[in-house]
């Protein structure tokens, strides 16, 4: 008899091993939850890793306060139905000062409401390990990051001085104040994620499926008028358009694509014939050359 795992089962086994290793070796881990499709897969893998027991760490969502409404609804419903301990944190000070992408631009908003909010939350709870759903196929600088990625006491990543990572033996040793970011989906591709969602019947935010939505074209990006914080003069231009989202984030910074794909099968079909890569619908990547690497060095996921 031949024993062979399909690539999805091999990736699943690898991810579960990574997740258990963190639970076994860290004092206070947390799973960062972005509500996106990758997070949904990661959360399911955590449930698998500890079945029939409960997952021994909480989920944490860093709320930029500008997420799509449907994302927040989905988050709260999923956490409740699956009995997760969900922590929601945001940058209270910046929020009260009215920081947002329309008034402060994407760079300031992302830094304060995502990067700084995350750093503050990690510090506040004293987490020593944080799972993230990033994949190496998403972006060039991520292709080089380790699965267990060391962060110094200032939460910074040094791409030149990464710990060698061999076989499936992960170095989890840190000193007080330091931490590790862990990426259990490192070796998954976008197609793997979609196939797994289909195979496992994993619930995802409906924004991924095509539907008529109120859309404003801003600098070539299709932005959804999700609430009335969008300036009046923009909102007035909104037209119903059949679109879907390939990635999810802050609604003013996440472009939709024209699409008729309202099932996973159609999404995969669209993906196979598409000519744009996933991150082109993320407005924040265009700020500066090598900008994702810059953000990662500063502590962004």
């Amino acid at each position: 008899m031949s024993y062979s795992l399909s690539h999805l089962k091999a990736l699943e086994a690898e991810s579960i091993h990574i997740i258990r290793e963190v639970a076994a070796e860290f004092r206070n881990p947390v799973m960062l939850y972005s509500i996106g499709k990758d997070s949904s897969v990661m959360v399911r893998l955590a449930e698998k890793a500890f079945a029939p027991g409960k997952v021994p760490f909480p989920l944490m969502h860093i709320d930029s306060m500008w997420k799509f409404k449907e994302m927040v609804e989905f988050r709260d419903r999923y956490a409740k139905e699956h009995n997760w301990n969900l922590i929601v944190e945001y940058n209270k000070k910046a929020y009260e000062e009215g920081v947002g992408p329309f008034t402060h631009g994407s760079k300031v908003h992302t830094d304060l409401m995502k990067t700084q909010a995350l750093l503050m939350a990690l510090k506040k709870h004293g987490f020593d390990a944080a799972f993230g759903g990033a994949r190496r196929d998403e972006e060039k600088s991520r292709a080089k990051e380790r699965i267990f990625s060391f962060r110094n006491e200032f939460q910074q990543w040094d791409p030149k001085n990464q710990r060698p990572e061999l076989w499936d033996i992960y170095n989890t040793r840190i000193n007080a104040g330091e931490s590790i970011r862990v990426f259990p989906l490192s070796n998954w591709t976008e197609l793997d994620v979609w196939q797994y969602i289909r195979m496992e019947n994993i619930p995802i935010v409906p924004l991924y499926y095509a539907k008529e939505r109120p859309i404003v074209e801003i600098d070539g990006n299709l932005i959804m008028a999700d609430d009335d914080r969008m300036p009046e003069e923009l909102r007035r231009q909104a037209k119903m358009r059949m679109v879907r989202f390939r990635t999810l984030g802050c609604y003013p910074l996440t472009g939709a694509i024209d699409s008729e794909a309202d099932t996973i099968e159609k999404i995969v079909e669209e993906m196979m014939t598409t000519t744009k890569s996933e991150r082109t619908t993320r407005v924040i990547d265009f700020d500066q050359e090598g900008s994702m690497e810059q953000k990662k060095r500063e502590g962004y996921f």
Partner: protein, 475 residues
Amino acid sequence: MALSIEEFLAQDEQKDLLRLLTAGSVDDGKSTLIGRLLFDSKRLYEDQLQALERDSKRVGNAGDNIDYALLCDGLKAEREQGITIDVAYRYFSTNRRKFIIADTPGHEQYTRNMITGGSTANLAIILVDARQGVVTQTCRHSYIVSLLGIRHLVLAVNKMDLVEFSQERFDAIVAEYKSWLKQQHIDIPDLQCIPLSALEGDNVVEKSSRTPWYDGQSLMDYLETVPIDQDINMRSMRFPVQYVLRPNLDFRGFAGKLASGVVKVGDEVMALPSGKRSRIKEIVTYDGNLDEAFAPQSVTLTLEDEIDLSRGEMLVHPNDRPMQGHHLRAMMVWMDEQPLDSSKAFYLKHTTNTTRAYITNVKYRVDINTGERVATEGMRLNEISEVCITTAAPLTFDRYADNRQTGAFVVIDPITNFTSAVGMIIAEDEAHAIASTIQVRLSEYGIAPEAWSIVEHFCEELRQRAGINIECIKE
């Protein structure tokens, strides 16, 4: 699309996964080859192509052509230097298989990166420039491939377009390479030599009409069809306990990933190092219980008996046990800028077990350019040496040659926490095993008191002739 999307997905779900390592010098076209594999398997999107064209003009080394190499050079600071300096992972798939490429640099000072990228690889591609033939670096990479226990190796003779696709030239390179392997006693179970032009695409995906004398497969065809299900050790069951699950008083499960072998419900198992025995009651997963599980599945095992078992211990079949002990010999690669300080009590992590360890002896260093053993002291970055190690807690291990999972370990600096070295176990350290004294209570072996003096005399002979210390307890 000839298939419906449902048919495609059903087929795609069943593909297996091949992890491969590419190694080569800066100039022999490795990044170009990877770019070509990605390009020809349509893994490049329009915006990536646009960025590629833009970057090619700005910092590319391919004149007016697209510089595929830029696809693989990730980090900003490195891009300008024209070399990749760390391991980068690339993903692509074809109709038959999914692939993960670990792209590692060929530079001498970056041996550690090739070791890192290759540790999980099923297959390695080593590039040589058809004009240069086998160079020092080819030998170095081949040595590392064999050290890592990678079973499938492709010698990709690249830039055949620059030697007029000469069969003579190709044959000469292959002959030279094979004779070098033989001379070095390097045994690669599966070696394929392929004439290529990565730049022009010859024999990369399609067989080239410019090499009619070559009757082997194209590179892509070989990558898609090479059998890899025999690469994992399926003979010896090894289950390092990773995490103990106790959701309620009625359930006690041992979660872990099978390092090797197959385990079935009802199997008699032994816990090591304790030696306690039990049987497998259930193989639990989120998706329901299984009758059997095999490497590298992640599962949870429950046992018939309440035996004491925790993280770092291992379940095995009692009739197929690994080695155990405090002393081992290993090939070790030094990965740290700081040289070895043998007075340090390092952390040694092996499977799920971490213990303190001393590097007690560096026996020799391997000159990876020539394969020769050289007398040495200490260890420095990128050096590969045979060492003796003594651990505080006993390890349960196999030879790396028999088992890549239970034969490997990493060494962590106790102060910086950096991964200072990685090792591949050769054997128990017999010198130490023999030096320690074994106590034998003669009555327990059914030896009658009248024979005790004869046995004692025999043990004394053993000690003098073979250095085996057996202390006879006469009671």
